[in-house]
Symmetry: C2
Subunit: 444 residues, 2 copies
Amino acid sequence: MVQTKRQLHLNLFLTGMGHHEASWRHPGSETGNNLKLSHYVKFAKKAEEAKFDSLFLADRYAVSRQGAKYGLQGGIEPLTLLSALAAVTENIGLIATVSTSFNEPYNVARRFASLDHISNGRAGWNIITSGTDGEAQNFHFKKIPSHGLRYEKAREFLEVTSKLWDSWEDDAIIADQEAGIFADDQKVHEIHHKGKFFAVRGPLNIPRSPQGRPVLVQAGSSADGIDFAGQYAEVVFTAQQTLEDAQRFYQEIKARATAFGRSPESVKVLPGICPIIGKTEEEAREKEAQLHHYTNTEFSLHQLSNRVGVDLSAYPLDGPLPPLPATDGHQSRTKLIQELALRENLSIKQLLLRLAGGRGHYTIAGTPTQVADLLEKWFENKAADGFNIMPQLMREGLDDFITYVIPILQERGLFRKEYAGTLLREHLGLKRPDTDTINLSAHA
Amino acid sequence: MVQTKRQLHLNLFLTGMGHHEASWRHPGSETGNNLKLSHYVKFAKKAEEAKFDSLFLADRYAVSRQGAKYGLQGGIEPLTLLSALAAVTENIGLIATVSTSFNEPYNVARRFASLDHISNGRAGWNIITSGTDGEAQNFHFKKIPSHGLRYEKAREFLEVTSKLWDSWEDDAIIADQEAGIFADDQKVHEIHHKGKFFAVRGPLNIPRSPQGRPVLVQAGSSADGIDFAGQYAEVVFTAQQTLEDAQRFYQEIKARATAFGRSPESVKVLPGICPIIGKTEEEAREKEAQLHHYTNTEFSLHQLSNRVGVDLSAYPLDGPLPPLPATDGHQSRTKLIQELALRENLSIKQLLLRLAGGRGHYTIAGTPTQVADLLEKWFENKAADGFNIMPQLMREGLDDFITYVIPILQERGLFRKEYAGTLLREHLGLKRPDTDTINLSAHA
Ligand SMILES: Cc1cc2nc3c(=O)[nH]c(=O)nc-3n(C[C@H](O)[C@H](O)[C@H](O)COP(=O)(O)O)c2cc1C
Ligand SMILES: Cc1cc2nc3c(=O)[nH]c(=O)nc-3n(C[C@H](O)[C@H](O)[C@H](O)COP(=O)(O)O)c2cc1C
C-alpha cells in the first residue's frame, strides 16, 4: 500500500455517556449501563470498525460526595476495562491512564506488559501525576505533593519501568522443551535500581512484550509536563483553544523532543476535539443548547473550583473570574481557563457553559464538513498530528462522527481505510524500542 | 430445583502448562502460547462448560534468573488476565491473587469492584501476604517484613477495603435524569480511616458491585493465617497430605470462623488435588513417570530451597532433609514438607519428585473412579467442602478430569449439572454481605 499523504491519527476518548458534563441527563443516554461491560464493548467495536488508532480511558483516584450527587461519578478502573476490551477486539490500541503518584513501578510495568501480551501489542499508558488533595487523601497524604516533586518522581518512575520492560531481552526465551531450557539467563537482567523514590531489583516477572514497551502517552502541558513529554512521550494529549496556541504547543513539544535527541516524528501531538454534529449548523447548535440546558450551575461550579483549585462559590456568577493563584494541581488547564475567560470576556456563569462541553478542550457544534475542515486545517498547519475525539454525547456523537466525518477524512486521503499493521505502534508510525541494555549489562 | 444432597465445589487452579513443575517440557504442552490470551480462553470456556465454580490464578511478585532458565517463569498479571476472561465467559467465578504487602488498599478495592462489575458479580480475591525476600526487593524492602507484621498489615488492609466496598450503599444510585440527581449523597460515605499502616479518606470511586464485596479467599495455613481466615475468608485454599490432617485443618477453620461469630457454612475449605488420570492405574503411573522424567534436579532443588527458606544445595541428595529453622516466609508449607519427608522417610532426591507434581498439594495418579472416590471420601468425611483442581498437565489433565471424573461426581449427585445462579457467591452458597455502615454512619 503506497501512502502518498501524511496520515492523521484518531484516538477515541471513551467515557460512559459523553464528554459534556450533563450528557448523562440526556434522554438518549443509557445512564444505568455506566458500569456494564457490554456498554463499552459496543463503543469499542464501532471505533475499531471505523479504524480509530486507539481507545483511551482517563482516570481519577477519588470522587467527592457532591460530585456523586450531581454528576455521573465512579467508573471502571481503566486497565480492568481495557483488558476486557482486549478480548473482544483485534486491532484497536488500548490506552489506560495510571498515576505515578499512587502506584508501585514494578506493578505498573507488569500490568502494561501483561496488557500488551494479551492484546498482541496494543497497549498504551497515559502517564499522569494526579493533581488534587482529594486523591492524595486516599493514599495517606494530607495534601497533594508539590508539582515539581510529582514530576521528579514521575521521571524516576519511568526510568524504573523502562529498565523493567527491557529486563528480558527480546530473544531471551528459548523454550527448548528437549533440553529443558526456558530462557537464556544471560539475557534476563536484574536492574538493581536505587534512587530517591524507588529501590527495585528486577527482573520483571513477565518477558518483554510485543511492542517492547507500551506506547507512552502524556498530557501534562505545564513547563514540567512539556519537559517530561520531550523526554518520554510518544503521544501527547492536549487541550487547545485556538489554532495559534495549538501551533505554539506543537512546536514546543517537537523542539523539546529534539533537545532530548529524539526525532520530531517520534512524538505525536493530539489535541482534544469535542464535536456536536448536525445536518446543519443550526441543528448542531440546537443539540448543544439542549445539552447546556441540562447543566446544573452548583455542580458546574464545584467542578470548576476543583479544577482551578479555588472555591469560586464566594464570587458573583455574573462577575468575571477572579485572578487565580499559582496552583500545585493541574497547572496548564488552569492557565487555559484563565486565558479563555479573559479572551472572550466571559462572566463566571458564561464560562461554566463554555467549559461544559469538554472541560477546556476545543468544542465545535457544526456540520460534518465544518468538523472535517477544522481537523484538516489544524492537521495541515502544524497544530496537530491527529486528534483526541471526545464526543459530547457518547452514543449519538460517536455514531455521527463515524458515519459522517470519517468518510470525508478518508475521501480527502487523510485517514486510513484499513489497518496497515497490528501493533498500536504501527498504527501511530512509531518505532519499536530496542532494549536499552546499557544500564543493565553491568548486572548480567 | 430441589437439591437433596450437599454439593461439592470445584475451583480450577489455572496455569499455563500444568502444575507439575516439568509440565512445560511435555511434548503435548504448547509452551510458546504461555503468554497468549487465546490459550487461557480455551481453558476458561472448557471449565465453564463443565460447571466449575471458579477459575483461580496464583501470583508471585518476582522471578529469579535461575528460575527463568529452567522453569516456565513469568506470566500474565492475574487481574489483567481474569478481566479479559470476564469478557468471554458468563457464569464462572474469577479469583485473582493480590498481595496486601505491595499494594495500596484504595487501588485494590477498586480493581476488585471493577472486575465484579464487568463480570456481573463473579470476582474473588485470593488474599496473600507474600513470603520471599526476592519479592520484597522489588518493592524497596531489603528483606520480607516479618510474618506477624505482614498479617497485621493484611488485617488493616481488609478493614480498609471492606469500608471502601461499603462506602456506596446498595441503593445510593438514583440516576434521575430529569431531576439531575445521580446519587443520594447521604448514602455515599467518606470512611476517614486512619490506622497503623494506612490513612484513606474515601469514598471509593466506584459504586458498590453486584456481589457487594468480592468473595474473599485465603490460603495461609499458619496460626496467623488460620486466624485471618477465621475472620475474613469465605473460601480457604489449602495443601493437605493426609485425610487426617485435612480433617484437623477443616475443623480448625470452622472453629475459628465460629469464634469470630460466623457460621461454619460461611467459609468453604478447598484442599488442592493434583490428578493424573489414566484408563488404568498403571497408565496413570506411566504418565506420572514421564512427567517426572522431565524434571531437572538443580531446578527442583532451587525451587524447594526458595520454598523452605534454606539453601539445600549444600546437603547430600541421597541424605535426609536437614531440620528446617522457623521461617518468616511461608510457614505452613514448610511444616507440611518437613512432615511429609519424615512420614515417608524420603531422601532429598525422593522428596523433590514427591513435590514435583504439586509443590506439596495432594497428588494422585489413578483411574477416574479412584479420583472420584478420593474426592467423595474427603468431601463426606469433613475434610473438604470441595476441591482446588490442579491438573499436573494442564491441557490433557483438564480434559480428562472434565470428561471422566466430573460425570461420575454428577451421577453420584455430588456436583451440579447447571449453574443455579449467576453470582460466584451463589455458586458457592455464600450470602451477599450487607453494607456495614456502623463505622461509616458517623461520617455521613
Ligand atoms: C486529554 C487529556 C487527558 C487527561 N487525562 C487525565 C486523567 O485521566 N487524569 C488526570 O488526573 N489528569 C488528566 N489530564 C490532566 C493532565 O494530566 C494534567 O495536565 C496533569 O496532571 C497536570 O499536569 P500539568 O500541571 O503539567 O498540566 C488529562 C489531560 C488531557 C489533555
Ligand atoms: C492453593 C494455594 C494457592 C496459593 N497461592 C499463592 C500465591 O499465589 N502467591 C503466594 O505468594 N502464596 C500463595 N500461597 C501460599 C500461601 O498464601 C502462603 O501459605 C502464605 O503466603 C503464607 O502463609 P502462612 O505462613 O500462613 O502459611 C498459596 C497457597 C495455597 C494452598
